[in-house]
Every structure is written in structure tokens, then in C-alpha cells.
């Protein structure tokens, strides 16, 4: 299995056609319409057909999967070809993955990354592989003068079952290309899978560990210039004056240009512009609301009692239920702003010429970026190409393309190919954060400890809905009210790995434990009883699968030996998000006065697991991220400016702080639902619930290390 980097479609077609007489099947995996795969016979028109992915089988048996696989660490560059190869019954060692340039118009789907990509592509990748396999079998059957039904395939060969005769795919490729593509191809029965479900190593490992230049920041081109931008240091401010004389006089500086609220320093090398930038004297003035973290606290407190809340879901008569309640539990949960901090800072290459625009770099949304650049520069979209490099992490940040626009605008002003580089401080201060949020939960219990009423109000920022009205326990409570209120902040916000649920999951699953405790019930038993209620006496719409949720809960209880480990404080959490179900048990042990998070057991139902090595990696990475953020993550503001600017001030989790993680998967054969995000939301709750059991302190605010009671012990002193 090898990969080769980046080739245009034309080059690819030239290459495979030069190798002579193979089979080429064109298909699309990330367009909105699911077109049927087509055999490409006439190379000259191939470009016009507009496919973005090709599967070729050369006469020597080499199989090449040529597809744009935007890779930000969720492993799709490996798992997608596995799916094609599975249906094709290919010999994996002969499969080559080629990263395609995005030189087609057909990428109207936003590339949302791990969780969205697999469910979207599963079927069409399978059909592409199955179509090629069908054609190869038909070619062999013709050759042997038998029916296709008498033939089978295995590991890159067609086999005539009765006689044991064999032909390699390479030998059949040319003939296969002359056979008509059927309207419908049968797909494999999952019990016959030989590649899907196995552990396949990342196809780019070799390049990564030998230091090949795969990332956006690694892109260099003869004649390009380098640029950095000084942006307003505080949200709600704009440029007042610019004194760029010293910067301009600095060695290696080509120009200093001002556009919008940006002062761009352009030069011949990274270090020269870094130095010159420090010589800029820019003053800023107020241009809107200026907010500090204390202001947010006040805003939250006010809006929690506002009469302008939007009702998201209302079942039964909540007020009546609370009036008759034997016990009412009320709790508020809050989380701060969080930056994405992908390790590769934002950057993009742009070359705006009169004959067209070339954009190269790390983005999850090439289609939208192209559209926006077209609008900004008034250049038709078909004159703009976007080429995706490997992404040094995304976590949602690269769904926004502000930095692509900056690079394009700058290139159009200076009329030069330019690589725009954000330094870490730009990245951390540059906005698009996960917004801060506060929740108020209320639960009403009757005298028997049954949950008869449930209220949740969320105060969010800029995102329209900080709650998820159909989450569990919705559907299991007769009287329920879910509301949200919105504050519009000048601090820019955006999607952050598992948007909204990344914090809501912690709050909901912690609160459910509080209610179980008040009802005097075991937290897992309490959840199972609620699910039973949702099954037998459902209330309103239920948008999660009760059976799948029950199954992961039970499996997590079993794998963790729930309640049977003396000296270990266990905390539970279950969350359904991004179409997958993940239950977690966190284990805390006291070492003297220090509570230590030792282990997290995770049971995931993400449907069919395509690559078990990649899947475990996603779960472990998601948990480490969820745990690290809950423990340490906090971006605070003073007069509109972020107070943490680099990794010395913003604490990311490091190796000594990780708990052991045991990932398990439910193997139910349901179509895959992705795993880049769903393992993260349950983690904060499982950890808080375990820490409560161990210390008696209920953590309702993140980060946990700031807690007034046990923060110090959590910091380790």
C-alpha cells in the first residue's frame, strides 16, 4: 500500500492511460447527487464528465484510488479506500491511494470532516468498488464462456468456482472496460468483509514520519512572498492610525499594506516579516461592544431570567408538575470560551492573476471558500482552483475560511503569489471560538423518586440554539420544557469539535447524576428506567434510538464492572451525538488528598467500524480532548482582548495528564455513522460524576482546575 501526493486529474488520467488498456471507473463521493459510476473509455473527454474520484485497475494489477481526501487526522484517507477495496475484493497490498487535486467543480458538499464524511460516502464508495468487481467478473465469465454466477472473487482475482481457474484483475481490466455498467450492483454481505473492520495503518504514516511536506504551511513555490497580518487585538475595535515606517524599512520587507482592519507585512522570508511586524505602530479605537469575561457572567445571569427565551420543546404541563413535586433540584452549569488550537496555525497560499486564481492550503470547506473568493474579487468561480493540503488538525476551525479570503485579497492587492501565515498568537486571538455558555436545569421528583418534570434553559452566544431539545431525557419525561436565549457578542464564534454538545453533554449528564442521587437511585439504573419509560410510554418525538442507547449503557456497565471495584469511584455518562452513541465510565482513585483520574472505559456504537485502528484512535483522541478541555481549557477576555495568547498561558493537556482509555465497540452492522466527534461530549460528565463520588464536590463549571473546593488538588498541590 503506497500513496503519492497530489496530482491533477489530467495527470492521473494520462498516467493510467499510459500504462495501457486498464479499467477506469469514475465516481463521486462528495457531491450532493449520487450519480452512478461510469467506465471512462475516452480519456480526452474524461475531464468533461466532472467526476472527482477514479478507481483504476492497471494491466499489472495495480489498483489506484484517486480521490480528493481532505485529511485532518480523522483518517478518511485510509478508511475511504478501504471501503472501495472491500467491495472490489482487492489485494490491499496492491492498492495505491492518490491524493487528487480539487480541480473539479463537483464539490458542493461541505467537507465537515470525520463525523459527516463516512455516513455520506459509505454507499457510493461501496457501489464504486462493487461496480468494478462486477465488470471484472463479467469479463472473466466471457473469457471462460461461463455465467457470472459461477464465478467469485478473492484478493484481486476472479475465480471460476467449479474448476478453480483464476484470472488476476490486471489481466481482465481491458476487457472489463468494454462491458456496460449495470443499473444496480449487489453489495457484499457484511459477514464476507475481509478489509472493513480490520486494523489498517494510516496510508500516510511513512510520509509523516519522514518529514515530507504535506501540510499547508509546507507549501513553497518559487517566486512567492510571505505575509503576516496584524489584526485588532481586541474584539469590538478598529484601526485608528498606522505608522509602518519602521516596518517598511526593515530588511526583506517588500511592502506593508492596509486593507479592511488588517495591516499586512509582506516580505521575502518568514523571520523577516515576523520581526518587521513587531515594528508596526498601530492604534485602535472602539467600534462596537467591548466585552470582558465578567461582563459575560452578568449577561448570563440576566438572560437566564429573561422573558425572551425561545421555547424549543414543550411536553405536558411543566408548571403543574413542579407545583406538585416532592423535591426540586436546580443547578447551573457554565463553560468558558475555547479556542481550537490546531497545531498547524491557519495559513493559505493564494495567487491571484488576471487569468485565474490559485488557492492552496488547509481547508475543510473548499467549495464555500471558492464561492466567497469569487464574490470578494468578482472573478468567476470556474477561474478559481482550490487545492487542499493535509490539515494539521481542524477541530472545526478550518470550516471557516476567513484566512483564505485574507490571502486572496492580499494577493490581489500586491499582485504576487503569497503565503499568508498566522502565528500562534494570531490563531489563538483570531476568534471563531466555541462560545461560552450557561445552563440552568431543574428537575421535579415525586415522593417515589420518579422524574415528573424537567426544565432546561440555555444562554448561548451567536449560535442561535445552545440547547438540543430532543436529547435524552426528552421523550422519557411527561412534563418537559427546553428553552434557549441568545446573546449577540462581538467576539466571533464558530463550530468547535462536536458543536454545542461538547459542553451540553457534560452539563446534561452531570445533572442527570444529580437527579439520580436526589432520587436515591443508582445513576445507570436511573437512566435505564427513564429509557424504559420512553419505550413504554413515550412522550412526544423521540429522536434517538432507545435500543442502541440501552445497549451501550449495558455494555459499559459490564466492561467497567460497574459498582464492583472497591476503592474506585466510578462516574457514568452516555451521549448520543452526530448519529453515534457513546457510553463512558470514568474511574477516579484517591492518592492521599489528590483525586486521580485513572481510566475511562468507552463503549461506542458508530455502526460498522471501518478501520479498527483508526476508530480507536478517534475515540481516544476525542476523550483526551474532552478531558483536557474540561480540566484545563479556558480563554478569558479583558476589554475585548483574549488574555491567553500562546501555549504558555493557555493550557493544553499533556502526556502525564492522560488517563488510561479502554475503547470498545458495539458490532451491530448498522451503516457507519462516524467517530470524529461523538466520543468527546460524554467525557466531561463521566469525569465530573466520578470526581463527585470520590470527593463529594460537584463540578458545575469548566475548567475543573478553577474549582474553589478541589481545584488545587486537581492541579496536584
Amino acid at each position: 500500500m503506497t500513496t503519492s501526493y497530489k496530482a491533477s486529474r489530467r495527470n492521473f488520467l494520462k498516467k493510467v492511460s499510459l500504462s495501457g488498456g486498464g479499467l477506469i471507473v469514475g465516481f463521486n463521493w462528495f457531491t450532493a447527487a449520487a450519480e452512478k459510476p461510469v467506465v471512462i473509455t475516452n480519456m480526452s473527454i474524461a475531464g468533461e464528465l466532472g467526476f472527482n474520484s477514479y478507481l483504476s485497475i492497471a494491466v499489472d494489477g495495480t489498483i489506484t484510488i484517486f480521490s480528493p481526501n481532505p485529511e485532518l487526522g480523522q483518517n478518511i484517507m485510509t478508511s475511504f479506500p478501504m471501503i472501495v477495496a472491500e467491495e472490489l475484493d482487492a489485494d490491499w497490498t496492491k492498492v495505491k491511494v492518490m491524493q487528487a487535486a480539487l480541480d473539479t467543480k463537483k464539490y458542493d458538499r461541505q467537507l465537515t470532516g470525520g463525523s459527516g464524511a463516512i455516513p455520506h460516502s459509505w454507499k457510493r464508495l461501496r457501489v464504486a468498488g462493487a461496480t468494478a468487481r462486477y465488470l471484472l467478473i463479467a469479463a472473466a465469465a466471457n473469457r471462460w464462456n461461463v455465467t457470472a454466477a459461477e464465478c467469485n472473487t478473492n484478493n484481486g482475482q476472479v475465480i471460476h468456482t467449479a474448476t478453480g481457474k483464476k484470472l488476476g484483475y490486471g489481466e481482465l481490466a481491458a476487457e472489463a472496460a468494454t462491458i456496460a455498467v449495470p443499473a444496480d450492483v449487489p453489495l457484499k454481505n457484511r459477514k464476507d468483509f475481509t478489509i472493513i473492520g480490520t486494523a489498517v495503518k494510516n496510508v500516510e504514516n511513512k510520509k509523516i514520519i519522514t518529514g515530507k511536506g504535506l501540510f499547508g504551511l509546507d507549501f513553497y513555490r518559487e517566486g512567492m512572498v510571505f505575509a503576516m497580518i496584524q489584526r485588532p487585538p481586541a474584539f469590538g475595535t478598529k484601526i485608528q492610525t498606522v505608522d509602518d515606517a519602521a516596518a517598511k524599512a526593515s530588511p526583506g520587507i517588500i511592502d506593508v499594506v492596509r486593507f479592511k482592519n488588517n495591516v499586512a507585512v509582506v516580505g521575502t522570508s518568514t523571520w523577516e516579516i515576523m520581526k518587521a511586524r513587531k515594528l508596526l505602530k498601530v492604534t485602535y479605537e472602539k467600534d462596537g461592544n467591548i466585552e470582558s469575561t465578567e461582563d459575560h457572567d452578568t449577561i448570563f445571569a440576566t438572560l437566564l431570567n429573561s422573558d425572551k427565551a425561545v421555547v424549543r420543546r414543550k411536553d405536558g404541563d411543566v408548571e403543574a408538575a413542579f407545583k406538585t413535586a416532592a423535591k426540586i433540584i436546580t443547578s447551573e452549569y457554565q463553560c468558558p470560551f475555547i479556542p481550537h488550537n490546531p497545531l498547524e496555525p491557519m495559513n493559505f497560499f493564494a495567487d491571484v492573476r488576471t487569468d485565474g486564481v490559485e488557492l492552496i492550503g488547509p481547508t475543510q470547506t473548499p467549495g464555500s471558500a471558492r464561492q466567497a473568493v469569487s464574490k470578494l474579487l468578482n472573478i468567476p468561480e470556474d477561474k478559481i482552483t482550490v487545492d487542499i493540503t493535509r490539515l494539521g488538525g481542524g477541530f472545526g476551525r478550518r470550516l471557516k475560511f476567513d484566512y483564505v479570503l485574507e490571502a486572496a485579497e492580499l494577493s490581489s492587492i500586491i499582485k504576487k503569489p503569497v503565503k499568508l501565515i498566522w502565528i500562534r498568537e494570531d490563531d489563538m486571538m483570531g476568534g471563531s471560538y466555541r462560545p461560552a455558555v450557561r445552563y440552568r436545569f431543574q428537575a421535579a421528583l415525586d415522593a417515589q423518586g420518579n422524574l415528573i418534570g424537567y426544565k432546561l434553559r440555555g444562554v448561548g452566544m451567536n449560535q442561535n440554539n445552545s440547547t438540543r431539545e430532543d436529547n435524552f431525557p426528552s421523550g422519557a419525561v411527561d412534563n418537559l420544557l427546553i428553552e434557549s436565549v441568545e446573546h449577540i457578542s462581538p467576539i466571533t464564534t464558530g463550530a468547535w469539535r462536536a458543536p454545542v454538545t461538547n459542553f451540553l453533554g457534560f452539563a446534561e449528564q452531570s445533572f442527570i447524576d444529580e437527579v439520580a442521587m436526589a432520587a436515591g437511585k443508582d445513576p445507570i439504573q436511573f437512566r435505564l428506567e427513564l429509557l424504559e419509560k420512553a419505550k413504554t410510554k413515550p412522550v412526544g418525538a423521540i429522536k434517538y434510538s432507545i435500543d442502541r442507547m440501552e445497549a451501550v449503557i449495558k455494555m459499559a456497565a459490564e466492561k467497567s464492572e460497574w459498582g464492583k471495584k472497591p476503592g474506585v469511584a466510578q462516574g457514568f455518562s452516555i451521549y448520543f451525538s452526530h448519529a453515534s452513541y457513546v457510553a463512558q465510565v470514568c474511574e477516579v482513585e484517591m492518592e492521599g488528598k489528590f483525586p486521580k483520574v485513572k481510566k475511562i472505559i468507552a463503549v461506542s456504537d458508530c455502526g460498522e467500524v471501518v478501520n479498527i485502528s483508526g476508530a480507536k484512535q478517534q475515540v481516544m483522541g476525542g476523550i483526551v480532548d474532552g478531558f483536557g478541555t474540561a480540566m484545563f481549557g479556558k480563554l478569558s477576555f479583558k476589554n475585548g482582548a483574549p488574555e491567553q495568547k500562546n501555549f504558555d498561558e493557555y493550557r493544553l493537556i499533556r502526556m502525564k495528564e492522560i488517563p488510561e482509555i479502554e475503547p470498545y465497540f458495539v458490532n451491530n452492522g448498522i451503516d457507519p455513522t462516524g467517530l470524529g466527534e461523538p466520543a468527546l461530549p460524554p467525557t466531561g460528565g463521566a469525569v465530573a460524576n466520578a470526581l463527585f463520588k470520590a470527593t463529594g464536590t460537584r463540578l458545575r463549571n469548566q475548567p475543573f482546575i478553577d474549582d474553589a473546593t478541589i481545584g488545587k488538588q486537581l492541579r496536584g498541590y
Partner: protein, 153 residues
């Protein structure tokens, strides 16, 4: 601008840059060695780690003028001939990389550890690797791969 003679990956190279230019940008901008990464620029993340006479240094804060012509620099590109250093093999075997951006720095940090201490204890591995950030959280596998490589040194 002064000319500096550097001994990188068994090759002598000369660069003409400002004396305060960090080695990181000399490698990336001037010598085309882009395997060494920029993550923070303040010696906090370790993405820019290379070996200087067998010791790990953070090139984002290491001015080129501090390096003597007699000192040997090894970057990820020069760690082995064919990507077959025990650490690189272990990294593939354990299937460590997620986005992959931090991994060159992780491997070079581990390489320095194993040069000076071929059989580190778990504690020593943790103490050393704790200084490198992996934003994707691949820490379990990084730890495992260092351990595995140390059994093959």
C-alpha cells in the same frame, strides 16, 4: 548578511541570513527542510525539535548564530536513510499519527532521549515526552511507540 556554515543531516550547507534567524526558519524557508514544524514559536510545543549533537533543541527559539560549524544537526529528514530508524518503524507499527503535524517533533524528542538513555523507564519516557504537545491527543500511542522502539535499539 553573515554567512553561516551548518552541518545538517551529514551535509555541509551555507546560508546567508540575519544572525538572529531561528534555525527553524533557516531549515524551512532557506533549505527546504519542511519536516521540522512551526507550532508556537516560544519553545512550548516541541513541534520544531531537532537534534544538535544528539541533544534535542527547539529550533523556533534557537538563533542560527549560536550554532558552530562543528556541531551536527539532525532533522527528521536525516534521522535515517529510508525511514527505518527504530522510532519511525515503531511509529508506523503502533499507527501513531492522527493529523501528523506534531509527529516529527515527537520523534526527534524521543530520538534524543534514546541516544542518551537507550533503555528509559516508563517514568523517564513520560518526563521527556510530557514537553511535547499533541493537539490530537495521540499520547497513548506516542508513549507506546517510544517504549517499543527502546526495545529495539
Amino acid at each position: 548578511m553573515p554567512v553561516f556554515t551548518l552541518h545538517i543531516n551529514n551535509k555541509e550547507q551555507q546560508v546567508n541570513v540575519a544572525a538572529d534567524t531561528p534555525l527553524l526558519w533557516v531549515l524551512r524557508d532557506h533549505l527546504g527542510l519542511v519536516g521540522t514544524k512551526f507550532g508556537c514559536g516560544i519553545a512550548e510545543c516541541g513541534a520544531c525539535t531537532v537534534l544538535l549533537d544528539g541533544k534535542a533543541i527547539r529550533t523556533c527559539v534557537y538563533p542560527v548564530s549560536k550554532i558552530k560549524a562543528t556541531q551536527k544537526i539532525t532533522t527528521i529528514e536525516g534521522l535515517s536513510e529510508n525511514g527505518n530508524h527504530p522510532l519511525q518503524l515503531a511509529w508506523d507499527e503502533v499507527d501513531v499519527p492522527q493529523c501528523g503535524y506534531c509527529q516529527a517533533g515527537q520523534i526527534m524528542t524521543a530520538a534524543a532521549l534514546l541516544i542518551n538513555n537507550p533503555k528509559p523507564t516508563d517514568e523517564e519516557i513520560l518526563d521527556t515526552m510530557h514537553d511535547n504537545i499533541c493537539r490530537c491527543g495521540a499520547y497513548h500511542r506516542i508513549r507506546e511507540a517510544v517504549k517499543l522502539a527502546s526495545t529495539k535499539m
